[in-house]
């Protein structure tokens, strides 16, 4: 899917006009529905809300209160916007049996996850049911057409802690190793013991927050978003998302190095509190910047390849 680009000439008022027109058109098509069909839609929506009220509430709570999941507040409205902008794919046909099978599976997951007190599956079942409804109404092609909103919403669901920690430990070690190597490069004596880096008179802990994971899901979402907006081919989009992972790790290794350096040469207070958090935000900004640069380079490369392929085709 390519997001329809807004041309520079378009003003915000014309975008609003367009939205207003679409809303009016939508209302007219709702009025044109047969009463039974309208009742079916309304009742389906009511049942959906009743069934998924709990995961919806818990997800909103996580977005609002958990600093690791805050990006969901941005991703959810963005997803709605992208779904609206990309609209319905040409030749969309309902696939009733497949759609119903997905909805049934979602309901079973919803039930089972409640029994197992498993939040991730419970929240995931909600996205799955939405996917099932899309397939039931407009087919699998429409679901693929809406891959971006669905991916963004999925990325806004907090990863289960068990998985987060399984991934966090190796990431922590990698960030520690990079940090230690950089400190050694600056001729600072370093002794690494697991995840703890000892420098003269100080001990640095590479906490979970420094592992890169706090920013990793946000960076992955950014990679998906930039890929959808600026890249045209799936392999390059995937490459961008994959490159976002080492960027997060390396940036956090640099953060460990900077913390060690500042703690040693400026003040031990640089390793904690406000300074440490500000440094973290600065580093996330850097990761954001580098991911955007990679997206730009990939889009240029993609353009070159596409042009040369087109030329070859003409020749």
């Amino acid at each position: 899917m390519t997001i329809p680009a807004t041309s520079p000439q378009q003003t915000s008022s014309s975008a609003l006009d367009e939205l207003g027109r679409d809303l009016r058109r939508g209302l007219e098509s709702v009025r044109a529905l047969a009463p039974a069909e309208l009742a079916a839609h309304v009742l389906t929506a009511v049942m959906f809300v009743l069934l998924f009220a709990k995961p919806m509430r818990l997800l909103a709570d996580a977005w609002w209160n958990d600093p690791n999941s805050g990006h969901g507040l941005l991703l959810a409205p963005l997803s709605l916007w992208f779904a609206y902008k990309s609209g319905v794919v040409e030749g969309a046909r309902p696939q009733r049996a497949l759609g119903l099978a997905i909805i049934i599976a979602a309901v079973l997951f919803r039930y089972a996850s409640d029994l197992a007190a498993e939040l991730f599956v419970m929240r995931g079942s909600m996205v799955m049911a939405l996917g099932g409804l899309v397939v039931w109404h407009a087919g699998f092609r429409q679901l693929l057409h809406w891959w971006l909103p669905f991916t963004l919403v999925s990325l806004s669901i907090p990863i289960p802690e068990v998985i987060l920690n399984t991934v966090a430990l190796p990431l922590q070690f990698t960030a520690s190793k990079i940090g230690a190597a950089l400190l050694e490069w600056r001729k600072i004596p370093v002794l690494m013991n697991g995840n703890v880096i000892r420098i003269p008179g100080q001990e640095l802990f590479v906490a979970e927050a420094c592992s890169g994971l706090r920013s990793l899901t946000a960076l992955l979402s950014l990679g998906v978003l930039l890929g959808a907006m600026f890249l045209q081919k799936w392999p390059t989009r995937l490459l961008l998302v994959l490159i976002a992972i080492p960027i997060a790790i390396v940036i956090n290794g640099v953060r460990v190095f900077l913390t060690g350096f500042l703690v040693l040469f400026v003040s031990p207070e640089m390793g904690e509190g406000f300074m440490h958090t500000s440094e973290g935000m600065l580093m996330f900004g850097a990761a954001f910047f580098f991911t955007a640069i990679v997206a730009w380079v990939l889009s240029k490369g993609e353009g070159l390849v596409l042009r040369s392929t087109a030329k070859a085709g003409v020749a």
Binding site: L43, M47, L58, Y111, A116, A129, V162, N165, Q172, G194
Partner: protein, 214 residues
């Protein structure tokens, strides 16, 4: 036309009539677990009310063994009579980092060769200059498990089929005195001690856990 509504509606009925989980009392209070472990007599420790609320256990035993100045080890058994959303066992892997401990190494080990399928978690932790060796596992409903994933699966299965979710988290913590020992082979002595305590605790917890016929 009404099919999605019907399926979602059935889902609403399913969750509203969801099998109620039984709160299952332990056969014996966790504090009845013997205080003698590896030649030491344990002293009971109190978990503050606030922490108990966060952890959500319905019964527990926490003990410290050895001299006050340098305890040889501590043991903890947290019992949950039923597990529901917001009141279920938290993996120590999630809780310990929050308490300032860093996980240095994490692996699974066999406690005794006669039960090769009963694995427990072995974790080496660091907090500033302090190091600790932790053994922990999940015990209940007829099995011992180290894997957070299989525990979730079994919880779901037993909740759906039997309406039972009672379980205990069992944890042993031993200090590692020499910081340079952390994560190296020189922890062998502490590992042997941990295994001895774990074997004894495993039997004691079975004695206190509710009956389970598979």
């Amino acid at each position: 036309m009404f099919a999605p509504m019907a399926v979602l509606g059935l889902g609403v009925l399913l969750i509203s009539g969801m099998r109620e989980q039984h709160a299952v009392e332990p056969r014996a209070p966790m504090n009845s677990i013997t205080k003698m472990m590896a030649g030491y007599e344990g002293r009971d420790m109190i978990v503050p009310e606030e922490e108990r609320k966060v952890a959500g256990m319905t019964d527990y035993m926490m003990r410290v063994y050895g001299p006050d100045s340098l305890p040889a080890f501590t043991t903890y058994v947290g019992y949950y009579d039923k597990q529901v959303q917001g009141k279920s066992i938290h993996s120590p892997k999630n809780c310990l980092p929050g308490a300032g401990w860093e996980i240095m190494t994490s692996e699974r080990v066999v406690l005794s060769p006669e039960y090769p399928d009963q694995l427990v978690n072995r974790v080496v932790l660091a907090n500033r200059s302090a190091r600790a060796l932790v053994y922990y596992w999940y015990q209940g409903r007829g099995r011992i498990s180290a894997s957070e994933y299989s525990v979730k699966w079994e919880l779901m299965r037993d909740a759906a089929l039997r309406g039972r979710t009672e379980e205990a988290l069992v944890r042993i913590v031993l200090p590692l005195p020499d910081r340079s020992d952390a994560g190296t082979n020189r922890t062998t002595e502490q590992d042997q001690l941990a295994k001895e305590i774990a074997r004894s605790l495993r039997g004691e917890v079975w004695r206190a856990m509710p009956e389970w016929v598979s």
